[in-house]
């Protein structure tokens, strides 16, 4: 087992620390609140000679992702960081990165999208690019952000898919926590040297990358991408197993918190999972069998596994920290319900859209969700969608 150092770090510092230990070949980035610190701290590592990385300061996130694509296609291990409008500006190029199967790792800090302008946490930005062909991993706290970054490099390069690791803006990114970090050499050993497949700077075997692909081949390439995302599920689990063997902490596609005997459960992602666990513990002390399914991996969506974990639970609610603004439901609720439907599980699953623009989610808010689930168990029906904590 690796030696562990206990330190105090914010989520942004934890991600920058992971990047220092990974020591990528290239980081191209543009600052944006609340993700700025990640690349700002990393730039100081470059300036201080602590890493061998080529740091490319660019004039926009569109260019940041474009530079990352150039670097990754050339064969370099490549990372960046962004948030909100920055991720939105990258959106066009995110699709190019996945289409070209480039294992870029992006540290993404979840933040609301304009308008109105807002710098605080919700999941709108990451959800906006949920179909961009990127693996998406959510973190509950700074520790998970660090661990996920270390794993992401291996996941991305094995799956040949770009991967974003997310934290929650300010709540995780700027919250100081006690975290355990590993020795530099152990992280280096874990990620290993980048395995080069086909790359542009291989003069022995020249390739053409990103050629025009019309009616006759585009469909086949997209089908390949879909298959890569399906395959990535087992890669994520394999990397988690290697991580546990080396560092001791266990990760899966999601965390089942007291679900085994639960009669009611909340499905949620990110920092709110921690609050939900506290509420579940409180309810359990009163004899109420509450549980939490904390989804870690949103892409690929582990639909069979989620359905299996929820099938025996009488009442399930989803908490969505973003909205699809579609006259339908939040993105997580849509996925969870489709997963249940595909496994022939029929149950009422109310969706609670909460915390938009950093609106505080309090213990009482989550208690009210569990109370609604109790009502469902008692045979009462609930609204399909509730905007939790909004003023009427």
């Amino acid at each position: 087992m690796s030696k562990i150092n206990v330190v105090a770090r914010t989520g942004n510092e934890a991600m920058a620390e992971a990047m220092r230990q990974i020591n990528p070949d290239v980081v191209a980035a543009y600052p944006i609140t609340p993700a700025t610190e990640i690349v700002q701290i990393f730039a100081s590592y470059v300036a201080d000679g602590l890493v061998d990385t080529e740091f490319v300061p660019v004039e926009s996130e569109h260019s940041a992702m474009s530079a990352c694509i150039g670097s990754s296609a050339a064969g370099g291990r490549t990372m960046t960081g962004t948030s909100s409008q920055g991720l939105a500006l990258m959106a066009e190029i995110l699709y190019v990165a996945s289409g070209l199967r480039l294992p870029i790792v992006l540290a993404e800090v979840n933040r609301a999208l304009s308008s109105p302008i807002n710098i605080h946490c919700d999941h709108s930005d990451t959800m906006m690019v949920r179909d961009a062909g990127w693996i998406q991993i959510f973190s509950e706290n700074a520790q998970e952000a660090y661990d996920n970054m270390v794993q992401a490099v291996k996941i991305a390069e094995t799956a040949a898919l770009p991967t974003m690791v997310t934290t929650d803006g300010f709540i995780i990114s700027h919250g100081m926590e006690r975290i355990e970090i590993f020795e530099d050499k152990d992280v280096k050993d874990f990620v290993g040297p980048k395995k080069l497949g086909q790359y542009l700077l291989n003069l022995e075997k020249p390739i053409t990358l990103g050629a025009l692909d019309l009616q006759d081949y585009y469909f086949e390439h997209r089908r390949q991408l879909a298959e890569a995302m399906i395959d990535s599920k087992n890669i994520i689990l394999d990397v988690a197993k290697t991580f546990k063997d080396k560092f001791g902490r266990a990760y899966g596609l999601f965390e089942s918190y007291k679900l085994d005997d639960a009669d009611r459960a909340i499905v949620v992602m990110g920092s709110t999972a921690g609050t939900a666990k506290v509420v579940a513990d409180g309810l359990r002390a009163k004899g109420i069998k509450a549980g939490v399914l904390k989804l870690r991996v949103f892409r690929p969506f582990p639909k069979a596994e989620v359905a299996e974990a929820l099938k025996n639970i009488k009442a399930v609610a989803v908490m969505d920290r973003s909205d699809t603004i579609s006259g339908h439901e939040g993105p997580l609720a849509l996925e969870v319900k489709a997963a249940l439907f595909d496994s022939n599980i029929k149950k009422e699953v109310p969706d609670y859209i909460f915390g938009l623009g950093g609106r505080e989610v309090r213990l009482e808010d989550i208690e009210s969700v569990y109370k609604d689930l109790g009502d469902i168990i008692d045979g009462k029906s609930k609204d399909r969608v509730t905007y939790l904590g909004v003023r009427e």
Partner: protein
Amino acid sequence: MAEKIQKQGWKSLPKGDVIEGGGTAREFRTGDWRSERPVHIPEKCIHCLTCWIYCPDSAIVTKNGKFVAFDYKYCKGCGICAHECPVKGKAIKMVSEKEAKKNEKICQK
């Protein structure tokens, strides 16, 4: 009768929009939608090859350090060669494609 080409399916296709081998742009003719084309005036040309340096489509054909021709398969008619030509009175002039095609037809007759 044209031979039916067996196209690769997604399982065997090289992954990630990669084509093995370089220089494949040569096989894709990009010069068929010009509105203007450059025309060479041999008596004025000093063979400085400024046009060859500036042409963004590598459409200037040279031999032994001398200008030979424009490669109209790839020339997009951007006019950079004519603009950069340093010769007084210019050794390259831009002619409208419509005009040039009309002249071609006259020549063919």
